[in-house]
């Protein structure tokens, strides 16, 4: 029977993909996660400090690395999977990600727009300075 009666509690290891779970059960899962997270963290620090990369692309690269590391934490530490017994957990996560995205991108968008449209001349800015 592949139809699990309940979703798993988040943080619990899925019973699906048993072969994969046997191969890297318990300590193995956390160790893979740690190794990946360390690699991504080290890469982030390198990217922020190197002069080899195109400077304008560095912030975007850092965001990508952060998203990747978030994925590693979700999969290997929190055991959030795409297995059928994780549907509720994934749906809640998806909704959370949607709200986070709206809040952050929406704020940045609106505030940048306001800054551009309300930009005062240099003279006025000087008058306002304490």
């Amino acid at each position: 029977m592949t139809d699990a009666p309940y979703d798993l509690a988040p943080g619990e290891v899925s019973i699906f993909g048993r072969a994969a779970r046997m191969a890297a059960s318990g300590v193995g899962i956390y160790t893979i996660g740690l190794v990946l997270a360390v690699i991504l963290t080290a890469t982030s620090f390198w990217v922020a400090n190197t002069s080899l990369l195109w400077a304008l692309g560095v912030p975007m690269g850092l965001v990508v690395l952060a998203i990747a590391q978030m994925g590693v934490h979700l999969v290997f530490f929190l055991h959030i999977t795409t297995a059928p017994d994780n549907t509720n957990n994934v749906l809640a996560l998806a909704f959370g990600v949607l709200i986070v995205f709206l809040v952050v991108v929406g704020s940045l968008w609106i505030m940048t727009d306001l800054n551009t449209n309300m930009m005062q001349s240099a003279e006025q800015m000087n008058l306002m300075r304490p």
Binding site: M1, D3, A4, P5, Y6, D7, L8, A9, P10, G11, E12, G26, V27, I29, Y30, T31, G33, L34, A37, V38, T41, S44, F45, V47, A48, N49, A55, V58, P59, L62, V63, L65, A66, Q69, M70, H73, L74, F77, L78, N88, N89, A92, L93, F95, G96, I99, V100, V103, V104, G106, S107, L108, M111
Partner: protein
């Protein structure tokens, strides 16, 4: 039939079809509820992150990121929190195997690493405030202390929670209620690490970019 007793901590060995399975076991309900709380906590942090991102250039003539942030300290803090997340995972394994000594051992390492993280953060804050970069100096610093300090408060709460849980394991043993609380603690601790990933990348590393 007493449904409340029937669903309470039943071990689900055999699979019934979803339509016949009845209410989910308490461990699943508690874990999911805590997961929803964590997501709402992350939504709260997203508002603080948005405020920081909007105000990051509003330094009001005061110090900015490159003068304030010490990358070595941040790297050590990151290592501490990541390692403590790992030992927290090992503690979860010890809990599910009901190995009491391993649980204490990994909980102690988790606690020590979390406390080291917190000590570094407090030292950093104290140094910044002593050098005149206090929260009231500029909007940038207000947002910085709010978002990083809020994470620090969460870590403090996590450390207290961990100590309480170890006392519960010592006194009550691995009963289902304690196991559920330990599951929630592990979720909380891993979620804090996810927030720290965004903190060290979006605040510290992006803050020192030229």
């Amino acid at each position: 039939m007493n449904v409340a007793v029937a669903v309470y901590d039943v071990k689900q060995d055999a699979f019934a079809p979803a339509s016949e399975a009845g209410p989910a076991p308490k461990r699943v309900v508690v874990g999911f509820g805590f997961w929803v709380f964590l997501l709402s906590d992350i939504v709260m942090f997203s508002a603080l992150f948005a405020a920081y991102a909007v105000l990051v250039h509003a330094t009001a003539g005061g110090p900015a990121g490159p003068q304030l942030f010490n990358q070595v300290s941040v790297a050590i803090q990151t290592a501490c929190l990541l390692a403590s997340s790992y030992t927290c995972g090992l503690m979860s394994l010890a809990v599910s195997a009901q190995r009491r000594l391993d649980t204490y051992r990994f909980a102690f390492v988790t606690f020590a690493l979390g406390a080291a993280f917190l000590a570094l953060e407090i030292r950093e804050f104290a140094g910044m405030i002593a050098s005149g970069a206090a929260p009231q100096t500029s909007a940038f610093l207000s947002a910085y202390f709010t978002v990083v300090g809020c994470h620090g408060l969460h870590v403090t709460a996590g450390l207290i929670w961990l100590a309480v849980m170890m006392a519960q394991v010592a006194i009550k043993g691995f009963r289902p209620a304690v196991d559920r609380r330990l599951l929630c603690f592990a979720l909380f601790w891993h979620a804090l690490d996810i927030i720290w990933v965004w903190l060290f990348i979006a605040v510290y590393l992006m803050g020192v970019l030229p």
